[in-house]
């Protein structure tokens, strides 16, 4: 943790980000290319879902990243409110739209899977509704952080929302166990190991790693932009 502490300084973070971005971009592109090949060409149809299982290769990783992204927002929110880390607010501003996009992909691809499999685009069951709520929490964070003339006030309000909204994460995860839902229970992250055949599991995990790399890449690029914007704001105030 002490090794990561030096990144709390925006200027040092920017230099670090500029060093890692070229390699990370290459790794993300290569991983996504292989992942798409595995997902669309290599993997066999599922014995129950048939070819529609291919939607799972983008739907499930998006759901994981949307949830992990919100957990990150909450950690950044706590970091801002408790320790007033200068980078926490900028990184939260950068990460919220990325998490919102992954939540949107999860909702839309889930709907596109639900139509042929369940016969409906949408049901108000606990898993789908809590995921929709997560998307709205992201939108709330984006709106709040930009709602004030003083960016510090907006960042603090958004940080409080992120801490309140984090209660939704266990609800999403355990909704399929706590309530009788149309959504199937956990089949990868469960006690006793995954209930998925390796021919489906490997492309799924590969796409999850690819999406994770893309998530990190986008957060780094957007955090750099937020640092630059803050420098411009300070320059304007000084002029």
């Amino acid at each position: 943790m002490a090794d990561l502490h030096f990144l709390a300084n925006p200027a040092r973070f920017r230099r670090f980000s500029q060093r890692v971005l070229p390699g990370l971009t290459l790794a993300t592109v290569l991983c996504l290319a292989v992942g798409l090949y595995l997902a669309l060409v290599q993997s066999p149809p599922d014995y129950q879902q048939g070819e529609t299982v291919r939607i799972m290769f983008v739907h499930v990783p998006s759901a994981w990243l949307a949830m992990a992204g919100y957990g990150m927002l909450a950690a950044l929110g706590a970091s801002l409110l408790v320790w007033r880390h200068p980078l926490a607010a900028l990184m939260a501003r950068a990460a919220a739209p990325v998490g919102a996009c992954f939540a949107l992909v999860c909702l839309l691809t889930g709907s596109l899977w639900g139509r042929p499999m369940w016969g409906t685009w949408w049901v108000w069951d606990a898993r789908l509704t809590s995921m929709l709520l997560l998307f709205f929490l992201y939108l709330g964070h984006i709106a709040l952080s930009r709602a004030y003339d003083e960016s510090e006030r907006g960042d603090r309000a958004a940080a409080i929302l992120s801490l309140i909204g984090v209660i939704n994460l266990p609800i999403i995860k355990f909704s399929v166990d706590w309530w009788n839902t149309l959504h199937q229970p956990a089949s990868v992250a469960k006690l006793g190991g995954p209930a998925i055949h390796p021919t489906i599991l490997i492309p799924l995990l590969w796409m999850a790693v690819s999406f994770l790399l893309l998530f990190v890449l986008l957060v780094l690029v957007r955090t750099e932009t937020e640092i630059d914007r803050r420098r411009l704001e300070i320059a304007e105030q000084g002029a």
Binding site: L40, V221, R222, T225, L232
Partner: protein, 46 residues
Amino acid sequence: MSNHAVYILSSYLVVLVVLGGLTVASLGARARARRELAARGLERKR
């Protein structure tokens, strides 16, 4: 890809549009911010 091809291809199109769009927008915003910094003499133009 069977008669469900339209749903599968639409899903990957959603990924392309949403995540691809976000990537392009993010890179564009970074380039604009850098240009503005360079124009104010706060950073060398890349």
